[in-house]
């Protein structure tokens, strides 16, 4: 031990051995120990902070790829061509409006129409009865029969959780029942009839649409020629060939500009409104479905070519009779994946099948997860999301129960009980186009005349029907500047830096290195182990001998003796001559050491400490 302390490169140990005076030695031991403690603490700190990331933002000015721009009409299908499918439903809806609100007809008429109703025998109200409640009294007027009846089952308030609807006299809602077990019903109430009617209509609408094959639906919706009047990109004309059709379940036919489907992605090398995409859209307000959508215009979304456009979730709405200019600013971010943060690079490690044919995103995962749960528990797929393999969309005929099931499931999903939010992780890298939207009047009053005339000519058909400016929307999407901001996380620490920080700590407190650590291991484990082993061996041997000779009480004494004079002989035995000499050399000097002033290089440094402590030690010595 002493040998180690003297010969080690670590500074403290040597001090301990070399110091004279008990107090000083004690001080040194304390200091050394605290230094060791400090080192351990700091290194632990370093280790804990190892998985931290630093963020760097780079800005690069360069030619930028133009994003894909998906444009939809807010109204999914031409109302005129949907008549065949929806006429029944619309009739019912109108009747419902009449009965509840006296819409469009007088009161006397209402009563008559109610009378007619019973004979008509509507399917829609049989499926989902629309109810009017009176004062939370748990009685409701059934629209169809006009009877009042007691409502049982749980009541879900879609709106009333926020607004205190206790004062409102009438609440309207609908009831969904489990078809297998009719006593189990869920009641959805709305404080406003607008929401109730729309929600109710939407349910039926989805039902009907789920039965129509995709090809038919695409035909029912708008064609590229219908939607796009003019197109201009980067100073050049473009036409419908630059757009890719994309059928969205809720928005019908959408058209994606620069979808990269033919392998080339357009890019812009100049910023500014002239060099972006300029489109004039034909909205055709007259052909809107009055119950399904209540606003007019178009929806656009700017996204990456590989991303699925969730236009219903994050689309931007475009006003008619206005020029909407959208300036983009491009930001790309990349996070570090495990172990730095909990994100996924490709989505391959997420146990949810990607139903969309696009690259992973959190939104895709959540929707896919919900759809999967839907198929599992309801047996059919929800209309707004793509179909998993082997499943089909829900409709009454096959799954009379699906609406109840869907609402229940949706409730769970929102309350995070399905576990989707836990399974799905966000993607590590994403591209973002920050949009600055502003609107100007278009066409201006003086140019309106010629503009509409020329655009009508462009439309090329029905020249007699002059376009109305409320049917048109002008859209400009352009890069504000070609600076791409790239926000990336970099590991703040690499192994190299960690090691050098360790080294710095070790060096600062104890002037120690890995060599010291190895020394410690060597001395304290290997050497002491061998010493202990040898001692045991010798003791055992002695004991054996003792036992062999006679069982007298001399053995322990001998053992003690052995132990006292042990260290050196053992070392000599164990280690070979050089070690021996090295070991032996300091020893002779050790004995005179207390007498000779400590010839240590550290003396210079610690002089002040010495002078202070000297009297103490002397006193201690005298005592």
């Amino acid at each position: 031990m002493r040998w180690y302390c003297l010969n080690t490169n670590t500074h403290g140990c040597r001090r301990i051995v070399v110091s004279r005076g008990r107090l000083r030695r004690f001080l040194w031991i304390l200091l050394t120990l605290s230094a060791v403690g400090l080192i351990l603490w700091q290194c632990a700190e370093l280790l804990l902070n190892y998985y931290s990331a630093s963020v760097s933002v780079t800005v690069q000015f360069q030619k930028l790829p133009f994003p894909a721009v998906t444009i939809c009409n807010i109204n999914p299908y031409k109302y005129s061509s949907m008549k065949d499918y929806l006429s029944e439903l619309d009739k019912e809806t109108k009747k419902a409006l009449e009965t509840f609100y006296g819409f469009s007809e007088g009161k006397s008429k209402v009563r008559r129409s109610v009378g007619e109703w019973d004979s008509a025998g509507s399917d829609f109200f049989k499926q989902i009865p629309l109810l009017k409640f009176e004062d939370f009294s748990r009685t409701a007027t059934d629209l169809r029969s006009g009877q009042k009846r007691k409502i049982e089952g749980s009541v879900f308030h879609k709106d009333s959780s926020i607004v205190n609807s206790g004062d409102s006299n009438d609440i309207i809602g609908f009831q969904l029942c489990d078809a297998n077990n009719s006593s189990e019903c869920a009641l959805y109430t709305f404080s406003s009839g607008v929401n109730a009617i729309q929600e109710w209509y939407k349910l039926h609408y989805m039902n009907i649409m789920a039965q129509i094959p995709l090809e038919t639906k695409e035909k029912l919706s708008y064609s590229a020629d219908d939607l796009l009047l003019t197109c201009f990109f980067d100073g050049l004309s473009c036409d419908k060939r630059h757009f890719t059709r994309f059928h969205h379940p809720l928005h019908g036919n959408c058209y994606t500009f620069n979808s990269g489907e033919n392998g080339t992605v357009l890019s812009t090398s100049t910023g500014g409104s002239e060099y972006g995409l300029q489109v004039v859209l034909y909205i055709d307000e007259a052909d809107y479905n009055p119950f399904l959508v209540t606003s007019t215009g178009a929806k656009i979304i700017v996204h990456d070519q590989n991303e699925y456009p969730f236009i219903e979730d994050i689309g931007t709405e475009i006003e008619t009779a206005a020029a909407t200019s959208i300036g983009m600013h491009f930001t790309r971010s990349r996070k570090l994946s495990k172990p730095y943060s909990d994100c996924t690079e490709t989505g391959a490690d997420i146990p949810v099948e990607n139903l969309y044919n696009k690259s992973y995103s959190l939104q895709i995962c959540l929707h896919s997860c919900f759809q999967k749960a839907m198929v599992d528990s309801c047996g059919c797929a929800q209309y707004a999301q793509p179909l998993p393999a082997g499943a089909e969309y829900c409709n009454y005929k096959k799954n009379p129960n699906w609406m109840y099931c869907y609402y229940r499931l949706h409730e769970k999903f929102v309350k995070e009980q399905l576990g989707c939010q836990q399974i799905c992780k966000d993607a590590c890298s994403f591209k973002e186009w920050a949009l600055t939207t502003s609107i100007a009047q278009w066409p201006s009053t003086v140019s309106e005349d010629w503009m509409l005339r020329v655009l009508s000519w462009d439309k090329g058909q029905k020249i007699n029907k002059k376009l109305n400016k409320t049917d048109l929307a002008n859209l400009m999407v352009f890069y504000k500047d070609l600076n791409e901001r790239f926000i990336s996380e970099n590991p703040a620490n690499t192994l190299v830096i960690l090691l050098s920080n360790f080294g710095g700590q070790l060096g600062l407190w104890m002037s120690c290195s890995v060599v010291c650590v190895i020394e410690i291991v060597e001395v304290f484990f290997i050497d002491s182990l061998s010493i202990v082993m040898r001692r045991q061996w010798q003791r055992a041997k002695k004991w054996w001998n003792d036992r062999k000779r006679d069982r007298s009480g001399k053995a322990p004494q001998a053992g003690e003796l052995e132990r006292q004079g042990h260290d050196n002989p053992v070392c000599i035995d164990e280690d070979l001559p050089t070690f021996n000499t090295a070991l032996r050399l300091p020893l002779p000097q050790d004995s005179p050491l207390p007498r000779t002033p400590p010839p240590n290089y550290s003396t210079l440094r610690l002089e002040s400490a010495f002078t202070e402590q000297l009297p103490d030690t002397l006193e201690a010595g005298q005592r």
Binding site: N7, N9, V55, S56, V59, K63, L229, T230, F232, G235, S237, C238, G271, G272, E274, Q278, A323, T436, S438, I439, A440, Q441, W442, S444, T445, V446, S447, M451, R453, V454, W457, D458, G460, Q461, I463, N474, K480, D481, N483, N490, V496, I497, L499, S500, G503, G504, S511, S513, V514, V515, C516, E522, D575, L576, T578, F579, L585, Q589, T596, P599
Partner: protein, 681 residues
Amino acid sequence: MNLKKYFIRALHRLQKGPGYTYKELLVWYCDNTNTHGPKRIIKEGPKKKLIWFFLTLLFASLVFWQWGILINTYLSYNVTSSLSIGFKTMKFPAVTVCNANPFKYSEVKHLLKELDRLIEAALERILQPTPGNGSNTSSPPLDLELWHQIPLVLIDEHDKDNPIILDIFESNLAAGGNETAAGNQTAAGGNQTAESNQTSEGNQTAAGGNQTSEGNQTAAPPAPANTTSEEKKYKLAVKLCSHQGSGNCTYRNFTSAAQAVTEWYILQSTSILSRVPLQERIRMGYQAEDMILACLYGAEPCNYKNFTQIYHPDHGNCYIFNWGMDEEALNSSNPGAEFGLKLILDISQQDYIPYLSSAAGARLMLHQQKSFPFLKDQGIYAMAGTETSIGVLVDELERMGYPYSDCTMNGSDVPVKNLYSQYNTSYSIQACLRSCFQNHMIEICGCGHYMFPLPEGVNYCNNEDNPGWAYCYSSLRSSIKHRQICIDSCKETCNDTQYKMTISMADWPSEASEDWIFHILSYERDMSTNVTLDRNGIIKLNIYFQEYNYRTISESAATTIVWLLSSLGGQFGFWMGGSVLCLIEFGEIIIDSLWITVINVIGWCKGLKQKRAQARYPDAPPTVSELVEAHTNLGFQHEDAGALPRDEALPPEPGTPPPNYDSLRVQPLDVLGPDSDAETE
């Protein structure tokens, strides 16, 4: 003196041979160095010696490898960014407001009269389904000279392979159509139509009065309505020729007639307007007192005189608030609309040029003080009849310059002449790109484009002086190569400030307040009791700081020289407990061994000579090293002992020559004099 002594000693040493061997040197070094490994090597037994030797080697190589990594990291000049968000008193941004329409139509009417009549007649012909409705019989003859400089043509694509190109004002259009039908697509076909244009032009100019009747005759073929009810077969294109009547023509096709008409009108009008002197153009634009009706900054009233006028080619007269050119920039120390800028503008929509800009509104932009507003890039619209509120967040990015990133502080190191410096504005990437384009344009087309500032001694392009400018401009504009050159030569600025805007709108004025507001504003402007304003012309703007008004991303170097040194030291310390002093020690050893080598080599050469001279001696005389070898061990032990108590506890064996390696080099030092003297002499 010392030097002489030193040389003498060195000479002696050379003659005598080295004081001791490599081995001694190494052992001594290992024993005395502060690096941790070597000491172990010599102090342990053979087995451990070996282990320690390899360990030391391993550690040394580890250290060097990691040093390499560290130095590489340093040389990659990484940066870390720090983000700060909050509110502080900041300079209010400069606000540029313009009218979307550059000139008052009433002022420029006399210049554009011919052009408007042309386009009206052309539209008439394109759009009218029935020929000869007699609407233009009374109008004076059209100025077809203007038309033929840049004609609009109609391309009949009934036959996809042989598109027929029809000039709208073609008198003998049937013939022209036949001719061009023979030709193929654009260039080849263009050749012939160009010729036919020439001939027809002669006809028309000669018989100007007849033109209308001829026009009526030929109006039938371009009228598309009858034929294109199911599919659009006619396209409008702008024909651009390098010289009028020359064969080198291209057709800029447009899928939409509206686009074609606008493009054509812009080309024509820039040609006309570029000949108008700047003073005149400023006069024709909107005047500050007409446009800015009310202004309030915080609680302080301001008026149109607080705005700096600047002429912007796209939007005519623009007015900049708080540009900071002459006076100090205003600070805003409170968030919220109360403390921002409130403006009421009049854009007088009735006075718009009908064909030039179809969108109506004010164009505004927030930008830094002393920078040029590039409204086409960064500007936003404000709609008439609304109140537009703009919450501002200043998004700053402060970057380190070279070598961390390739950006420029003030644009002085960019090889493009900044044409916008005549406005006294700071460098920006947009200014650089536009200057670059204009320079190319002047180089290739010989004249400057109207939209960009001019360098000295160059004129704007117009149809009279530069007949082929439109062709030249259009080819240059679509040339990817030229764009790329500009992108490559321009650098972004290191300090990038953006104003993130949260825009919201409401109808203004409300129906109830409409009357009195219009009345007051009209009265203030025109000093009359008549209401001269209406909903279509009036705009209210609120521009203010948001609650958090700045987001600053500033870069700092991830790796500094201090970082590098401490990491290097940490590595060296971690593996070997070494420091710079150890490196110096090592260097010393190398020098010493070199010295030994030199001495040895000289000795060997001498020995060779001697051998040759006195071949009878079979062996070389014993070297000093051999002699000294006898007491290496002793010396080593002694040194070891002496290492600890260096000063007083001198070894008890004074007789043996201490293998003091310092003697080799340190002769001039007199401290160790006795030893070395004893040895050398």
